[in-house]
């Protein structure tokens, strides 16, 4: 230890005060880093679209009332209603669900045994489909139809049915390998197709086929004339916009999935993490204050010595050096321990989250590390600034 460090630090550093700063700093930094990291980990999960501009989608229907039994057109969206909706400022784009107007049955054959069920298809314009890839095309005459299923169908089976019956769970990959035998009949035609599940949608709660197939098949197999859509999909920048809920309520529209709530979940998550980070920052600030006061006290106790050092030619920079070293070392230890604590906590919550949400993809720990670095630089800078200002007054 250099003579000046020994002179200025050894006898006058209050270890209780330093410990106080240390604990406060650690708790504060830990909370901030945890908040930042948890936000980074969870946020993408609540907002599925990872574009620069977050988009969200709302699927709406008209409320089905008792009288609608008599009036079958009552819960369809007319062209005028669709236009009006499209003109609303919150609606970036509006798309319609086109239902199949022909009979569909689909079956699976596994080692000779099999089953068949009646079903239906729907289509939406491609830009609303979240799970499409290069297989998501159909040209009239193709014998294979790409199909997208709602992810929650699979979840319902895996986490509900399979679990209750001790059946094996099925991965998305396995489902994609199955070939469905699809039979389409109507208007005097009956054709067989191969159905292949190409994806699972979080957004669209229906059995989806490409729009070109639907247009072609409705033209070929349907006998009834085209009807207005019963469901619309709306792309919006902010599903939590209060105007949307108000508009829907006035017109008796129901948001089908919980997108509106998802918006509030994101909002809630943001508020929660902001609050957590704010509390952490407040504690950090108090810790910073504590360390500054503690150093001021040391300087106060050492003021005669500091004056004598100036008298024999020491510069403020040189007498500040031991205190700066103390600040940097203590802050560095706090930063390292805080980031370690967050990484340990994360190692515990990541497996838990992965267990309840199989598709959960954690973020990298970079946000917490960057944040701890920034906190370290900021606290050192503020401490050293306060220190220099105080020493100039000696």
């Amino acid at each position: 230890m250099s003579i000046i460090r020994r002179l200025l630090l050894r006898e006058h550093v209050s270890w209780t005060q330093l410990t106080g700063f240390f604990i406060a700093g650690l708790v504060g930094a830990g909370i901030v880093l945890f908040g930042v990291q948890a936000w980074a980990d969870l946020h993408p999960f609540f907002s599925p679209d990872d574009g620069f501009i977050k988009k969200d989608y709302i699927v709406i229907t008209k409320r089905v009332g008792a009288l609608d039994l008599l009036n079958r057109r009552g819960n369809l969206f007319t062209a005028a209603e669709r236009d009006e909706l499209a003109r609303q400022p919150f609606a970036d784009r509006v798309g319609a669900f086109t239902p199949s107007r022909f009979q569909v049955s689909a079956g699976i054959q596994v080692q000779g045994a099999g089953f068949t069920t009646d079903m239906f298809f729907e289509s939406v314009p491609d830009e609303f489909v979240d799970a499409r890839d290069e297989r998501w095309t159909y040209n009239p005459g193709d014998s294979e139809i790409p199909i997208i299923l709602p992810r929650n169908y699979l979840n319902l089976y895996n986490f509900g049915f399979a679990r209750s019956r001790d059946l094996p769970t099925i991965s998305e990959g396995v489902v994609s390998m199955l070939r469905l035998s699809v039979r389409v009949t109507g208007n005097g035609h009956a054709d067989a197709f191969a159905g292949r599940v190409t994806g699972f949608s979080n957004r669209l709660n229906t059995i989806l086929v490409p729009e070109p197939f639907m247009a072609w098949a409705n033209a070929r197999y349907a006998t009834a004339p085209p009807a207005d859509p019963a469901r619309l999909i709306i792309e919006t920048g902010n599903p939590a916009n209060k105007e949307i809920a108000k508009y829907f309520q006035q017109r008796g529209y129901d948001a089908e999935n919980d997108k509106l709530n998802d918006g509030s979940v994101v909002w809630f998550l943001n508020i929660l993490t902001t609050a957590v980070i704010a509390i952490g920052l407040l504690i950090c600030l108090l810790a910073l204050y504590l360390l500054t006061i503690s150093i001021y006290l040391i300087i106060q106790k050492n003021s005669d010595k500091l004056r004598d050092l100036l008298l024999i030619g020491y510069r403020v920079r040189e007498i500040a050096a031991p205190y700066q070293m103390l600040v940097v070392v203590v802050n560095a230890i706090v930063a390292v321990l805080a980031i370690t604590a967050v990484l340990v906590a994360r190692a515990h919550y990541i497996p838990f989250l992965t267990k309840i949400w199989p598709e959960f993809v954690p973020a990298t720990p970079a946000p917490a590390i960057a944040c701890s670095l920034a906190l370290f630089v900021l606290t050192c800078f503020l401490n050293i600034l306060a220190l220099r200002l105080r020493l100039r007054k000696i």
Partner: protein, 214 residues
């Protein structure tokens, strides 16, 4: 720096009633590099004030102190720091040593700043001042006379144009007084700096170029 000039300098405390018969206060006096001066006075005549003015720790005076041709009051804290490292040394009456450090560490503390002396010079100097046996003793545990010699060795650990000694030998016996004088004479001859000694009676036996009454 070659010259320190005092022009009608009067400490504020004497503003109403300047000490009668002072050859310094209210007069024009020049101290030149390479010369040796003895300033004699009874207590309370402003010896320590003068040293503080020349060393920049106080500026409560009227008149002007010129370092070469520059008004000392215009020095910034940074410039005073520079002067204290490279030009003006001082041995204060109160010594201002750090009691918890050993004798040699007190000297090193200054020398590490200036890198002016070798470790060997420091040890030889402690030897020549007859305090080699106190090298590692905490300053708090040695006598005031011994502390005066440590402070002197410390004051010599820098390049000097002027060395101010405020009653440097007040607590020394004649033998040690001579040791101090020998060291000062040797260093002043070798490095060519001026020595300004204040005294209320006892002072190192040097060949003074000028003796002034404060």
């Amino acid at each position: 720096m070659e010259q320190i000039t005092l022009q009608q300098v009067v400490p504020d405390i004497f503003a109403r009633q300047p000490p009668a018969g002072s050859e310094i206060w209210g007069n024009q006096i020049a101290f030149n590099k390479g010369q040796t001066y003895l300033l004699q006075a009874a207590s309370g005549k402003g010896k320590t004030s003068l040293c503080s003015y020349l060393h920049g720790s106080r500026d409560d005076y009227a008149g002007q102190i010129l370092f070469d041709h520059r008004d000392a009051k215009r020095n910034s804290p940074r410039e005073w720091g520079e002067l204290r490292r490279t030009s003006i040394g001082i041995l204060l009456q109160g010594l201002r040593l750090f009691p918890e450090l050993s004798a040699i560490d007190n000297i090193r503390l200054k020398n590490r700043l200036t890198r002016h002396r070798s470790e060997e010079w420091i040890r030889e100097t402690l030897e020549s001042l007859d305090i080699a046996d106190k090298t590692n003793a905490p300053v708090a545990k040695i006598s005031f006379g011994q502390q005066q010699r440590v402070a002197l060795a410390r004051a010599l650990c820098q390049p000097l144009d002027f060395l101010l000694l405020d009653e440097p030998v007040s607590h020394l016996d004649d033998d040690n007084n001579r040791r101090v004088a020998d060291l000062l004479a040797r260093e002043a001859t070798r490095h060519g700096f001026a020595i300004i000694v204040t005294s209320i009676g006892k002072h190192p036996p040097l060949s003074y170029n000028q003796t002034l009454r404060l």
